[in-house]
């Protein structure tokens, strides 16, 4: 077995000027020989003389099918033949802008850029052909990878153009901006159910994730982590016993970490376990879940001046209410738990770092590592691999930093693979949150005042506003409903545990509170929650439309047996100022009153995400995200005791399994609006829709996520 297997191909591609891995069939040698003549119109695509169009993806592929969707966007305007399309994942470069993948933003933010990249290349190819034919470009059209001169019928394939004809036309930024893009009715590829380009490799086990990278001469590293999640440091290290382990190579002890390097993974584990380390447990050694919740309760009662959103006059609104309703919602820590554990292969050479991993966060990682390692950003090269799930966890670059520090000292490339237990212990879970919602109702049951207080430790790697606030941690509280006199107060609750982004970030809990609270108000006012929402939306918006579609398909209002109920929830999802996705779901659930166990029988969802680039891709994302939300709502919980997380593996952090999967009905609404993202919005509706379904089934309200049987039982007792 050659250790060079994974590397030689990569070096080849890098030498050809397009670092990263290529999904293709052409042997590397053939491609590199032709690369000198490749046409590179911009950062986003390369056309080689064999006619292959390689779309360069600045976005991470972590299961969204993003490579195929972005390639469809480029190919549409390029008028490429789909069979010629390949994708690759280039190494970080400023020419790709700020490289990150999060917020369900990839399609919505890339759509215009990539459409213009494809269109510009098409215009340049047509110009070259016309010059060659001494024809007028307006008499030429491009279609399926061929330029054709309409009056004479002459034609030339893109590959032949690249091989034989000088392509000289340049487009100024103004000209690029002025290109008229296709109208939706002109689309040939956008909107098509094209199979994903990467699936054939996935089903044969050939996909290379970060954990599958091998470098020549590579050793294995294991880090000895402090016993507390945050603030722990080593004060003494004795590696006498570790040195006796067969295969031991080196101990790396810096201010940042203690690690062992060995010839094999097993030897590295054994040697690391043999280290005798004295730890200072640090300032957060007494943090427990209960201490966090108590602190949050105290903070929620404090008067705070920081107001994120305010409409009308909240004080006057509340003053005119004839009655008020207040409810407190909590969510526990939840771990992203991507199935591929965190890992990184690192090589230090000539003052530079080559890091092989799958990350959502190239831009931030390079910026931070450059500072902490004391090198220019250009000296940090992240060789992007496929991601075996991410869900926000791979927005953090902790493992890249560890691997880089170890590789610098090891004298050899190293591979660092976390165990599942280490991944849970070193997690960046979504923070515990506590939210208080208060509404005032007038004599006509109209909501006249609304106060939303959100306490949580905001996630790292979020979207920050000009006041330095992590807006993505409390967005979603700015819901779409026409309610006057609103105020939203975000309160940052510090507990020392690093907060992470968890698929759907803020709206994962803000929408839980908002949509459950609306249901409570509907019940108090004796109004059907469906009608209440529609009346608050004026009945005609895109959100109202998906609510109506979901409700109709779910049979809203039709009778159900005892202890079975339907709950409705919706979302306007946009983490930053982009076109939102509008989504609604009805959850039908059964409650066992004896045990408190909740079983979901059916989820009916309608989504409006504007122009649909790949309908099956959207459907797959929505199906998966709804079930991800169900897993979160039913069972996921991390607790912390004395500064360390209690959950160690999937035994005590269970995830949704096949026997818990309900019937799922997804309806995608047709639209010609700008496309918006679908990876996260479905997650946000399940918890509230399920809470509302439990209420409809039993009259008991659960406000603490996840809805563990004991919590449902408590709610049933509280009601009685």
């Amino acid at each position: 077995v050659s250790l060079a297997r994974g590397w030689s191909r990569r070096e080849f591609v890098a030498a050809a000027g397009a670092a990263g891995l290529t999904l293709g069939f052409a042997p590397p040698a053939a491609r590199s020989a032709r690369a000198a003549a490749a046409f590179v119109p911009n950062a986003w695509l390369t056309i080689t003389p064999d006619g292959t169009v390689t779309v360069h993806l600045a976005k991470a592929e972590m299961g969204q099918g993003i490579g195929t969707a972005l390639a469809q966007i480029v190919a549409e305007e390029l008028e490429a033949d789909w069979k010629d399309i390949r994708v690759d994942f280039p190494t970080n470069d400023p020419k790709y802008g700020r490289m990150f993948t999060s917020g369900s933003l990839s399609v919505t933010q890339s759509f215009d850029v990539l459409s213009r990249a494809g269109a510009a290349a098409r215009i340049m190819l047509i110009d070259a052909a016309a010059r060659d034919w001494k024809a007028d470009p307006v008499d030429c059209i491009a279609e399926r990878g061929v330029v054709r001169h309409v009056p004479t019928g002459r034609s030339i394939a893109y590959g032949d153009l690249v091989a034989r004809v000088p392509i000289t036309k340049k487009l100024s930024p103004e000209e690029l901006k002025a290109i008229t893009l296709k109208k939706p009715r002109e689309y040939k590829l956008i909107g098509e159910r094209l199979p994903r380009l990467d699936i054939p490799e996935q089903v044969t086990g050939r996909t290379t994730y970060g954990i599958d990278v091998f470098l020549p001469g590579m050793a294995y590293a294991k880090v000895a982590y402090p016993p507390t999640r945050a603030g722990g440091t080593h004060t003494a290290v004795d590696d006498t016993a570790a040195r006796r382990v067969k295969g031991y190579l080196k101990t790396v002890a810096t201010d940042d970490l203690v690690a062992v390097v060995a010839e094999s993974y097993e030897a590295a584990v054994q040697a690391r376990d043999a280290l005798r380390i004295t730890w200072d447990r640090g300032p957060y050694a007494n943090v427990t879940t209960a201490s966090i919740v108590q602190e949050y309760e105290r903070k929620a009662r404090q008067k705070v001046d920081d107001v994120w959103m305010k409409t009308g006059d909240p004080g006057a609104g509340m003053a005119q209410a004839v009655r008020t309703h207040t409810a407190t919602y909590t969510t526990d820590f939840v771990d992203q738990a991507p199935l591929e554990p965190m890992n990184c292969v690192a090589r230090y050479d000539n003052g530079g770092y080559d890091l092989f991993t799958g990350t959502q966060s190239q831009a931030r990682a390079v910026q931070d590592l450059s500072k902490r390692l004391g090198v220019e950003p250009a000296k940090i090269r992240i060789h992007q691999q496929y991601l075996g799930g991410a869900f926000g966890r791979r927005l953090e670059w902790d493992v890249l930093f560890e691997a880089a520090v170890i590789a610098r000292d090891a004298g050899r490339p190293i591979k660092l693979i976390r165990s599942r237990e280490e991944d849970f212990a070193r997690g960046f879970p979504r923070s515990v949150t506590l939210q208080v919602l208060k509404a005032g109702l007038d004599g006509n049951q109209t909501i006249v005042g609304w106060e939303h207080t959100i306490v949580g430790a905001w996630h790292g790697a979020g979207f920050v506003d000009d006041k330095g606030r992590t807006v993505s941690a409390f967005v979603g509280s700015d819901h779409a409903y026409g309610i006057p006199n609103q105020i939203v107060r975000p309160i940052r609750g510090e507990h020392g545990v690093p907060g992470g982004a968890y698929r759907s970030v803020g709206p994962g809990y803000t929408n839980f509170a908002v949509e459950t609270f609306l249901d409570e108000l509907a019940s108090l006012s004796k109004i059907d929650p469906l009608h209440m929402r529609l009346s608050l939306l004026g009945g005609q918006s895109r959100l109202a439309n998906v609510i109506k579609v979901a409700a109709a398909r779910a049979g809203w209002g039709t009778p159900l047996p005892p202890n079975v109920g339907r709950g409705l929830a919706s979302v306007k999802f946009a983490l930053v100022k982009v076109p939102p996705t509008w989504l609604s779901a009805v959850v039908q659930a059964r409650v066992d009153p004896a045990s408190g166990k909740v079983t979901v029988d059916k989820i009916t969802c309608a989504v409006d995400c504007g122009i649909v680039v790949n309908p099956d891709g959207v459907r797959a994302q929505v199906e998966g995200a709804l079930l991800f939300g169900l897993s979160t709502a039913l069972k996921e919980r991390v607790t912390i005791t004395n500064g360390a997380f209690d959950q160690k593996n999937f035994e005590d952090y269970p995830l949704l399994r096949m026997d818990e999967v309900p019937e799922v009905d997804v309806q995608i609404v047709e639209s010609a609006e700008h496309p918006s993202g679908v990876g996260e919005p479905p997650v946000t509706v399940i918890a509230p829709a399920l809470s509302n379904a439990i209420f409809a089934a039993t009259g008991a309200r659960v406000r603490n996520l996840p809805f563990l049987p004991e919590r449902v039982l408590k709610a049933l007792r509280d009601k009685a």
Partner: protein, 150 residues
């Protein structure tokens, strides 16, 4: 030296007898289609066949694997056209894809045993395999397609 027979080929490896088969397959032999997910038999990402039956390679020692026929995703079908692989593409099952070799190996063992499994039999056989992307609906559909019961 320990000799293992994987996908019809003999491999000699110098590893401690208690080393988990998973790490030998993945890191020594670089048959990386077999994935590490939990190390305690909770996720099924490391599923292989031992003498035709599905097994979690994280829980099998090298010593116990000696003398048995081991099959990984790379050896499931000579041209990667196993009915399940074909069905997985037709149904566009994978999202991140990381768990999918294990899912396919688990399903292949099921179909060998029960060529026309009922829905209940599918769920019983597959509930030990985690998919964090929750592509479960399509996994089930692809198994039924491969079994000709869709």
């Amino acid at each position: 030296m320990t000799t293992l027979v994987i996908n019809g080929r003999s491999y000699s490896v110098d590893v401690p007898p208690d080393a988990p088969l998973l790490w030998v397959i993945r890191e020594r032999l670089q048959l990386t289609g077999t994935k590490y997910g939990c190390g305690i038999g909770q996720c099924g990402a490391c599923t292989v066949h031992i003498d035709g039956a599905s097994a979690r390679s994280c829980g099998v020692s090298v010593a116990d694997a000696v003398g048995h026929k081991i099959t990984t995703i790379e050896g499931l079908h000579p041209t990667n056209q196993h009915p399940l692989q074909v069905a997985w593409i037709a149904e566009q099952v994978p999202q991140c894809g990381y768990c999918q070799p294990g899912q396919i190996m688990q399903a292949a063992a099921l179909l060998k045993d029960k060529p026309k499994p009922t829905d209940t039999e599918i769920v019983e056989a597959m509930k030990g395999n985690l998919c964090r992307c929750a592509a479960y609906i399509r996994i089930k559909r692809a198994i039924k397609r491969a079994a000709g019961t869709a």
